[in-house]
Symmetry: C2
Subunit: 310 residues, 2 copies
């Protein structure tokens, strides 16, 4: 595949999901898993994370079959990170019932030498100290994308501030943007966050789409409207994977590339939510993705600049 390799660092997990449609235990999950599956449709992926002795070798085999280099996935003594959550009847919110860090508690990312020159890097939502450790182990990439969450925004503001200075694109949701900046209005919040380091910022709004901010201004892409949403788990991580995968494939960071990358991320997020866990995402082919992108572009097509009819 004629695309640059992308380094993805983050969690691999088991999820126990209580959905309106039923209960699903031991679903393979984790942010880095979803991001890797999505990105691997677009570029070679180098995955760094940790699993326990209980993680099925077949899952790693299936990732390798998709072009994911799992040389950075450490298998540690103990059990894999596990998340137990319950979704509301309309899937619009979820409650964490239990989090077992297990082997993830002592995770220190070790970047294989062969991965240290990866031109594109996605830092999943892990402790900012670990995000910094990853960056210390690699040569300056063309693009570093990072995710974070309220837990680190509130608990590790200093370290997170260091991370912000070293990344190119931060991908967070609207609530996180408001917490990080202390500003409710998202346009103002974005300006504040960009002053702290990242030249580019994406604020995700779930099914409502995503806002992109850079020096050229603001860009907005909607969510793809689906008839059947089955499981939102991993949608944001699939978005991030699709985003960086498209950029790695396009091999440039021009503003139009970023706009299209956001649509590819949204398209992959929309596939993700169509099945329990990563089930649907794993089935998607490049042809499926192109077809959804065509439908997506038709959905938003305006016909270009609009002038008032006289």
């Amino acid at each position: 595949m004629n695309a640059n390799p992308t380094l993805i660092v983050g969690s691999l997990a088991f999820d126990d999901l209580e959905m309106p449609s039923g209960t699903f235990d031991n679903v393979v999950g984790g942010a880095a898993t979803y991001s890797s599956i999505a990105a691997s449709l677009l570029c070679p992926v180098r995955l760094v994370g940790v699993v326990g002795k209980d993680f099925p070798g077949e899952v790693l085999d299936s990732l390798r079959a998709r072009g994911v280099d799992t040389a950075g996935v450490e298998r540690a003594e103990g059990r894999t990170f596990r998340w137990h959550g319950r979704y509301s009847a309309d899937l619009s919110s979820r409650t964490t019932l239990d989090t077992q860090l297990n082997v993830f508690a002592d995770f220190r990312p070790k970047i294989p030498t062969a991965f240290s020159t990866s031109p594109f890097v996605l830092l999943g939502n892990i402790h900012p100290a670990l995000q910094l450790e990853v960056l210390a182990q690699i040569e300056r990439p063309q693009l570093v994308i990072a995710d974070t969450m309220n837990f680190w925004i509130a608990g590790e503001p200093k370290l997170l501030g260091e991370v912000l200075k070293k990344i190119d694109l931060l991908v967070i949701n609207d609530e996180e943007a408001r917490d990080l900046s202390g500003i409710h209005n998202l346009v103002k919040a974005a300006a504040d966050i960009r002053r702290r380091g990242p030249k580019h910022l994406i604020i995700k709004r779930g099914e409502h789409g995503a806002l992109f901010f850079d020096d050229a201004g603001v860009f907005f892409a909607p969510g793809y409207p689906l008839e059947d949403v089955v499981d939102p788990t991993g949608a944001g991580d699939s978005f991030a994977g699709g985003l960086i995968g498209y950029i790695a494939r396009a091999k440039n960071l021009a503003h139009p590339t970023m706009r299209r990358a956001i649509y590819f991320g949204s398209a992959l997020g929309s596939f993700c939510v169509e099945g329990i866990g990563p089930r649907r995402l794993l089935e998607v082919t490049r042809a499926d993705l192109q077809k959804r992108m065509d439908a997506f572009m038709a959905l938003v097509e305006t016909g270009g600049p609009v002038e008032l009819p006289e």
Copy 2:
């Protein structure tokens, strides 16, 4: 102005607004007021409604100066309809503290003969029986747009059902679409609502934009992201006014016209929220509108169909 006239029927009111920025009493409001101000930037407007003895003649003068024919605005004995509301600190929700129907309680729309052949009609959110009375008094227009609300959806389902059979485009928000259809998923809810009558449906999602459904499929337009939102009152009515005003000016109902009309509606809604009451909307010129539309189109420009780079 080379545009078809639009008949707008609905409320004229006084609003007492408790905003995070302060308290504003006796603000001129009402759905038909906002819709008329917005539409009058794009087409001649014929307004039908009722005010009390306390409604300032200068307000009607200023509407007339904008090309609004107020021959259908009845001045009845008593006081004008009044709404008293309080907005949350982030303006995302509001509570009704008091509603005084006053002269609106006995309102029966009387369409002046000169208005009865209006090619475009906007039925504001009034009792469905009154919406039907309006339609009974006019020749079949090219396009009838109607608004409604949860109060009528729950309380007058039969009459509302009759209205739905006689209109071309229903404009409601997501909560109303869910209540009307009894279906949470908006794509499915839209299909259900369109089966009840209106060939075209717009589901508004406030700052998150609007979805448009017709036989050609789905279209999505975002809200225009603003740095300073002052007062959301009237934004939806300004949207509806801009929507029908653009269609009346374009003089066709083709799908691309509808897409552009939705952007014009959103642009006018975005001006509306920049000031208390209709203050900002009243200042806006056609040149301001064109400028915002240019910025809006730049915000969503994708560059057309996107193909995967090889």
